[in-house]
Symmetry: C2
Subunit: 559 residues, 2 copies
């Protein structure tokens, strides 16, 4: 028994000695000051791991590691120095470090591009969800941008992308799920307050349809309880232009058990909010017997209202919302009130209508905000963008193809005019070295030759050339083919051997080049692949492939 | 006593257990297969070092290391992937890893460039030592290139660089050390064989100098023993144009105790060798009374002879050679035989004379070999190079400044002609986008717009403009200033945001850009800094500084 106690005592003693020894070693092996925790290694064969200082270009030091003859460099430094990306993933129970040269994706087209089909890969775009979209206007049904003015404005390029993404989604996605809630024939279960309220069904002769009309007072609306989880609420609405009358959707954030109300009301402001009340203004027609078409992603509508107040970049997930009820206040009528999973062609049509209604006498869709550019270049409010014009053509050519309405052709033809005028004459045309025509996304003087905007403008011209009848087609073709010729001759000006430049500002302003960040670079690659599906010249496929290689670290060779 | 033994036993026992435990851990912590020796680590706090696989862009795996949250990447991979450079150095007893983004150096000029001064930083060039130099021709005293033809040929650009480097060294270096060995007045201690040999001193009336003449038979030469360590042997030589007559220098490789003989002999071949005998052919004048001037770096001469036979890239160090003796065989005369540390102005004069004697009726110095270029571009033998023409101007302008000989001006003026003719008309002029004149180092069709060659041609034009009298100066100025204007407008076309391209072949041929390797990039930077010392436009200094930054990993920003 005493032996055992002695052995136990000895054991504890040795444990202590070993512990002290380790502590001593750990405190003294760290020869260089380091941000890292002290490192203890055991030398077996030649496998000592130790710190070694990496002196970077004689400028500063980084704490590296050395094992045998190999030096190991911390990724944190590489990430900053080379802008490469990396993350540890779990793979079959083991950790693997995934090194990425770029963060963007390329869409290699599987078939020939057709102008009546999806617009490039815009089926994956969700324009209205973007942070730069303040809201979707209730009156026009199109997004409003805050990119260059926080007040919000109509940005033709963005509106076109909204339209084209919905057109493309329409072609790709299955038919939407729809529930008609109220159309004058199918009646919803409206709760009508006992005092000063009424619901009646009437025949609107003009539209030859039964509709539901209501009257109620503020605080005591006509109410329809529901449990809607589909995002789109679509309806035709007549609303009395007063402060009381409104179409209201009450939603619950089921996670936070918090209730929000989205109101549609006659007002010239587009969106405002007050705590849990979000307001969308409608420019109601003076003739209050005219119908307004609404097709709202109601979850986005509430989200934009919340963001208006929080100014936070972290959005509330839309999936946490449920529509609890729909309320009708004041005086108005409702028809075709429908809950839908999507309503892409309506949203496309909103964009088409915007382009028809907002073209100016010179054929342009003006950008109503000033834009400051590289150096001291400024585009004064009212500038046209070749990209906006081209996207507009892509919208209108598809609208014409779909509807055969000549109006869309007329608007599209008119939209060619700015392509024929130099930037100094309020057009979008620049000439590289006084020779090669280029359609300017930002028609500054001197020009900047933005690549992706130019190619989008060419695609717009191509769409019209392919879908329009002879006369207009020929006009579009001329602009397209002279632009394509410039593109072929100038494409390599954007090639840095390890990426692309966004534009040629360095050439025209004599300053540093603006490197395209990876998502713009990927756009360049996507655009070239797209052109390669219908243009014979191998330059597009060859260049796209090389540029795609840059995204995984390949580089042009040096001499 | 028994207690103590028990404690000792317990101690040993625990030691064993700990050892077994370590062995077990070391055999089991290495989860991934690795090229590296197994790694044993002790976990104190969170400092375990372990292997982690780095998956590179989904393409392949690299064995990395992980400590706490940081991943460490092996430099061997980084070196290949990014082409960065690194080496371990000892600094104050500690190892430091020096990371270099580039391997080239920039020379920031300390004062304004003056055309009569050193040519850029060519004082540091050693043209004749280059591998591409087959030898220095004994007849012309200028280097012969093997760049595009292993037989060797006269490459105007290289000859000019040889001349300009010696001119620049002359301005920078202290006066050479000289020993006159034999000049007809000072007599060397020649050993004259007893049979069929003679040395006599005679008066050459034409040159008004005493000279030493010799006759001897093969195998029994007139000999001067020496122990010369200075590199240059300079002399005036008359040699009978037969196979026997020769001027021979016998050298010893003192490390290898091996003897070499360098023979100068009348022959139309430039250089040939046979074991330890190296031969330089002289195109002896038909009138054997005419003097030939030789000024040889005799250590380079023997080195080139050795390399001719070994074809090895590792040269014998020149410092291991000593001149043991000088032998005179056959019939001839010698004057001003001198051992010197350098003879730069003679070597410059050889280049000047070559440019005077080898200009063709169109004013060009033709490159006598075919040059295959990017894609399927070919320059047929006889092409002019704007760089060769411009360098020629830099040589001749300095020769004129130094001597005031009108001949040099006449040749320089004539050399302007190819600058005024398009490449297709056997000139060196290209026009970028049909507009901006550019002088082509390689005047292909379509043009390639090599940057460094163009700027060197501008410097040549500038040198002549600054050093020539009014008429010729004006002509040179016109060409210079229109070229400079193009340079300003096109400079940024070469800027990749992280380096420069060597040329614009990617633009004219629609292929991948050719990135300038770091020494060419450094040349671009040096050239811009040089221009910035006398041209007002800030674009040169600004761009030079940015481009210099690229050499330590700085990059242009992206959007």
């Amino acid at each position: 028994m005493r032996y055992k106690i002695n052995i136990l005592l000895a054991f504890i003693c040795i444990q202590l000695v070993v512990a002290v020894l380790f502590w001593y070693l750990s405190a003294n092996t760290d020869l260089f000051p380091s941000k890292f925790a002290p490192l203890v290694t055991v030398n077996t064969k030649q496998t000592v791991f130790k710190e070694i200082i990496c002196n970077i270009n004689g400028d500063y030091n980084v704490s590296c590691r050395k094992q045998a003859d190999e030096v190991f460099v911390p990724f944190k430094f590489l990430h900053k120095y080379f802008e490469v990306y990396g993350k540890i993933y779990e793979k079959q129970g083991k950790e693997v470090f995934n090194w990425s040269h770029s963060y963007a994706n390329v869409f290699v087209p599987q078939q020939k591009y057709v102008p009546q089909g999806t617009f490039t890969h815009f089926q994956s775009y969700k324009v209205e969800e973007r942070e730069r979209v303040k809201c979707v206007s209730a009156t026009h049904g199109v997004p409003m941008s805050t990119q260059w003015d926080p007040k919000g404005y109509f940005y033709p390029t963005q509106i076109a992308q909204y339209g084209l993404s919905h057109y493309s989604k329409h072609l790709i996605e299955p038919a939407p799920v729809k529930y008609v809630l109220e159309d004058g024939d199918i009646h919803a279960n409206w709760l009508v307050p006992h005092v000063d309220a009424e619901v009646k069904y009437v025949r609107d002769i003009e539209i030859n349809s039964s509709v539901m009309c209501f009257s109620s007072v503020l605080g005591n609306p006509v109410t329809l309880h529901s449990n809607i989880t589909l995002p789109i609420l679509s309806l035709n609405l007549q609303l009395k232009p007063d402060n009381a009358s409104r179409f209201t959707v009450t939603l619950e954030n089921v996670l936070e058990k918090r209730t929000y109300r989205v109101h549609f009301i006659c007002n010239e402001n587009y969106i405002w909010a007050n705590a849990q009340d979000v307001y969308y203004g409608i420019l109601c027609p003076k003739n209050s017997k005219k119908w307004i078409k609404l097709s709202r992603d109601i979850f986005i509508d509430v989200q934009k209202g919340i963001m208006l107040q929080t100014h936070s970049k972290s959005k509330t997930q839309r999936s946490v919302f449920r529509v609890e009820s729909i309320e009708l206040t004041g005086e108005g009528c409702v028809d075709n009130l429908t809950s839908m999973s999507s309503d892409h062609m309506t949203h496309f049509q909103f964009a088409v209508d915007w382009f028809v209604n907002n073209q100016d006498p010179s054929g342009g869709w003006p950008n109503p905000v000033q834009r400051k550019m590289a150096g001291s270049l400024v585009l004064k409010a009212g500038w046209y963008s070749a990209m906006g014009q081209g996207h507009g053509l892509s919208v209108l050519a598809r609208a014409y193809h779909f509807s055969k309405r000549k109006l869309y052709l007329d608007v599209a033809e008119k939209a060619l005019e700015p392509f024929q005028k130099l930037s100094k004459d309020h057009g979008v045309l620049a000439k590289y070295m006084h020779e090669l025509p280029w359609y300017e996304e930002y028609p500054t003087i001197p020009p900047t030759f933005v690549l992706n905007g130019f190619i989008y403008s060419l695609i717009g011209l191509y769409d019209l050339y392919k879908l329009a009848p002879a006369d207009i087609s020929h006009e579009a073709y001329t602009l397209y083919s002279q632009g394509l010729n410039s593109l072929k001759k100038m494409l390599m000006l954007f090639d840095t051997g390890s990426g692309t430049t966004y534009d040629l500002r360095h050439v025209t302003l004599g300053i540093a080049p603006r490197i395209a960040r990876w998502d713009y670079h990927a756009t360049h690659v996507n655009q070239l692949y797209l052109l390669s599906t219908f243009e014979k010249d191998p330059i597009f496929a060859t260049t796209a492939k090389r540029w795609q290689g840059y995204m995984s670290g390949k580089r042009a060779s040096h001499n």
